[in-house]
């Protein structure tokens, strides 16, 4: 079919485990590597122990003008897929056929040089992204205006604030006009106003009939920008469906083990030490682990963890995120100054931090709990933005006489007064 612009067939990408070791082998290892060693390596690779498949058996097509979302957990293989599609890396097996110029926003600001001015970097970065000089000249004013850094355009970017830097970088990338635009997680950039601008820019691109592949953890952005999405799980295509369905599938998948999440040692990054998450539970008032809590009853969130060394200034807390990806609130166990003083240094041991979400707080729907353990401005020990999901059932909540979905994540029981005046 002529209007198919991306065709992926049996795509697979294999990496060495511990690439660092494999990549930085020294000449001596190769030249002088004993026969024994070579043999050893061979047997390892034969059994497949030495490799990991980041992507496997992937098949899909994208038609001209389609805006396709790609969602999946960290490490599912989304980025590898985008890298293959933008020709940065090559597949180990299978085919990825792409027609037309691919513009990738894999990471904005790539190739920016700190010593060069904003103006110079616009030209350099534009060229790196594949723009012609005349094209950049034509769009220069537009780019500068979009980035909101007019005043500093002739200042070396190393003097920019990080926000300015990112805005400028995104502005260049956003003015690329490729046939296929690949976007990965750029919306984490800048303040809310700038994010809105970026989303607007991207839906413009989509409306012009160009193909967009959009990867994001921001479910509401995915829902807004795309009609159809791929869900990738452990390197394989789990589902291709209309975005609403795909998001629902993604959110309901894997995280909740009936209201609790237990961390296996291999799920914990090494740099989390001395913090070690053990489990996260959602309990009802009777103290039973549940995956659905009632809106009209308090719910208990309980985080259990170990500390293997004394930690100063630790705060363990949660993000509550709606199924549309919006933050409902953030709360830490040492928010209260008294508790913060009392636990200024936590000794090694096993801890439980628990809190109660009061009754009549949450609207019906699915929620995600994210976990963060950090010492302010010192270190973020551990973060999992999708630690656990749970449902809220609104039975008995205010306004249930009207069986319609209510907007918003908050469903308070407010004291209304009605007076005739």
């Amino acid at each position: 079919m002529s209007d198919t612009v991306i065709r992926v067939e049996n795509l697979g990408k294999r990496y060495h485990i511990g690439t660092a070791v494999a990549a930085y082998q020294t000449l001596r290892e190769t030249l002088g590597g004993s026969f024994q060693k070579v043999k050893e390596k061979k047997t390892l690779s034969d059994t497949g122990d030495n490799y990991i498949w980041a992507l496997r058996d992937l098949n899909f097509e994208v038609k001209q003008g389609q805006v396709l979302g790609i969602i999946g957990r960290n490490g599912a293989g989304k980025s590898t897929l985008l890298k293959i599609l933008s020709r940065v890396t090559y597949p180990t097996e299978g085919i990825a056929e792409i027609q037309g110029r691919v513009g990738s926003l894999l990471e904005v600001g790539t190739g920016f040089h700190p010593e060069l001015t904003g103006r110079e970097n616009i030209f350099l970065n534009g060229a790196i992204l594949g723009m012609k000089r005349t094209e950049i000249e034509k769009k220069f004013d537009e780019i500068v205006e979009f980035s909101e850094v007019e005043k500093f355009i002739d200042t070396p970017v190393k003097r920019y604030s990080s926000g300015m830097y990112l805005r400028l970088a995104f502005a260049v990338a956003a003015h690329l006009e490729p046939e296929i635009l690949v976007v990965d997680e750029v919306l984490a950039v800048g303040d809310a106003e700038f994010q809105r601008k970026c989303l607007g820019k991207m839906s413009n691109v989509a409306q012009q009939g160009r193909t967009v592949l959009f990867v994001s953890h921001n479910m509401s952005a995915v829902l807004r920008l795309t009609q159809e999405s791929l869900v990738i799980e452990k390197g394989r295509l789990a589902l291709r469906a209309p975005t609403a369905e795909a998001v629902d599938y993604y959110l309901s998948r894997g995280y909740s083990l009936e209201g609790q999440r237990i961390w296996q040692p291999d799920e914990i990054p090494e740099d989390a030490a001395p913090f070690q998450p053990v489990s996260l539970k959602v309990l009802n008032t009777a103290g039973i682990i549940v995956d659905t809590v009632r809106s009209i009853e308090p719910a208990i969130v309980e985080m259990e963890y170990m500390l293997h060394a004394p930690v100063t200034g630790l705060r363990v807390g949660m993000y509550l995120i709606s199924s549309r990806g919006e933050f409902v609130f953030t709360s830490f166990d040492t928010d209260d100054p008294g508790l913060f003083e009392k636990f200024s240094t936590r000794q090694p041991g096993r801890y439980i931090s628990r809190c109660v979400i009061p009754a009549d707080t949450l609207n019906e729907g699915r929620y995600i709990i994210g976990i963060n353990a950090s010492s302010y401005k010192i270190k973020r020990y551990f973060q999992d933005e999708q630690a656990l999901t749970f449902n809220v059932d609104a039975a008995g909540a205010p306004g249930m006489q009207w069986p319609e979905p209510r907007l918003g994540s908050y469903r308070p029981r407010l004291d209304w007064e009605i007076k005739r005046v």
């Binding site: 020294t26 190769t30 890396t89 691919v102 990738s104 894999l106 790196i128 594949g130």
Partner: protein
């Protein structure tokens, strides 16, 4: 290769970036382009010219060695920059598609600007020593080209190897130093016995340096014939093999770097 042509503007911008950035935040700025060959010349003149009395075909030793140091500096800088080009731009290589060859190419081209600046000093010295260039001065661009071809050939090998083996970072300075001794910079080609000359010419830079002196200083009667041919052939062989090796390794760069 067609890709390279489509991305020719990027070659220009990357070269321009390397030129602009090279002397940023240095006290002496672009004068380094002059100082490096100039100071080397001073040292060589004192130790090889005055103390060791190395012959220089009847030409004043300082200008004799400086003429050779110009293409040599270009070559040596190109090698060290090119060998590091892929590794230094890791974030570009792992995130954006573009013909990877642009990195070593532009890092080599950036050195040409330094070369031109230093060339002005050479002109000044020629006026000072009252040396008129020979009528063969038009052949200079050819020697310059030969320098670049050699630098690119070796640079492609080193940059691609450096992605896999960081040993290259340590090998390159040593290689450059060794190479300096087998190139007629501090001494004349005429010191090499006649029968060894063709073997000596296997080093393309000896052809370049010999040609430079011949075209500018007129230190010998006959044009550098057989030596130059051997040097050129070797340079082209290195370039072609470098191209092939680079192309073969290119697919793995993003995963390995």
């Amino acid at each position: 290769m067609g890709d390279l042509w489509r991305y020719r503007e990027l070659i220009y911008f990357m070269t321009w970036r390397d030129v602009k950035v090279r002397y940023k935040q240095t006290l002496l700025g672009a004068s380094w382009a002059i100082l490096r060959p100039f100071l080397t010349m001073v040292v060589f003149s004192i130790f090889f010219g005055n103390l060791a009395k190395v012959p220089s075909d009847g030409i004043p030793y300082p200008i004799y060695t400086f003429t050779a140091l110009l293409p040599w500096e270009l070559f040596a800088t190109a090698l060290s920059q090119a060998s590091r080009s892929l590794v230094q731009n890791t974030n570009m290589v792992t995130k954006i598609y573009f013909p990877r060859m642009i990195l070593p190419i532009s890092s080599i081209l950036a050195g040409v600007v330094d070369f031109l600046v230093a060339f002005l000093v050479l002109i000044g010295m020629m006026i000072f020593y009252k040396i008129t260039p020979t009528v063969y001065i038009w052949t200079l661009p050819l020697y310059l080209l030969l320098t670049l071809v050699t630098a690119l050939g070796v640079g492609l090998w080193l940059s691609a190897l450096n992605v896999l083996y960081r040993d290259i970072n340590y090998i390159t300075p040593f290689l450059t130093q060794f190479w300096l001794y087998i190139t007629p910079i501090a001494y004349p080609v005429s010191m090499i016995p006649e029968k060894w000359r063709l073997i000596y010419a296997l080093n393309p830079m000896s052809g370049v340096v010999d040609g430079f002196r011949w075209a500018l200083l007129g230190n010998q009667q006959s044009a550098p014939g057989p030596m130059l041919i051997v040097s050129s052939v070797i340079a082209v062989v290195v370039l072609i093999s470098g191209l092939f090796y680079f192309r073969r390794m290119e697919r793995q760069f993003a995963d390995m770097v």
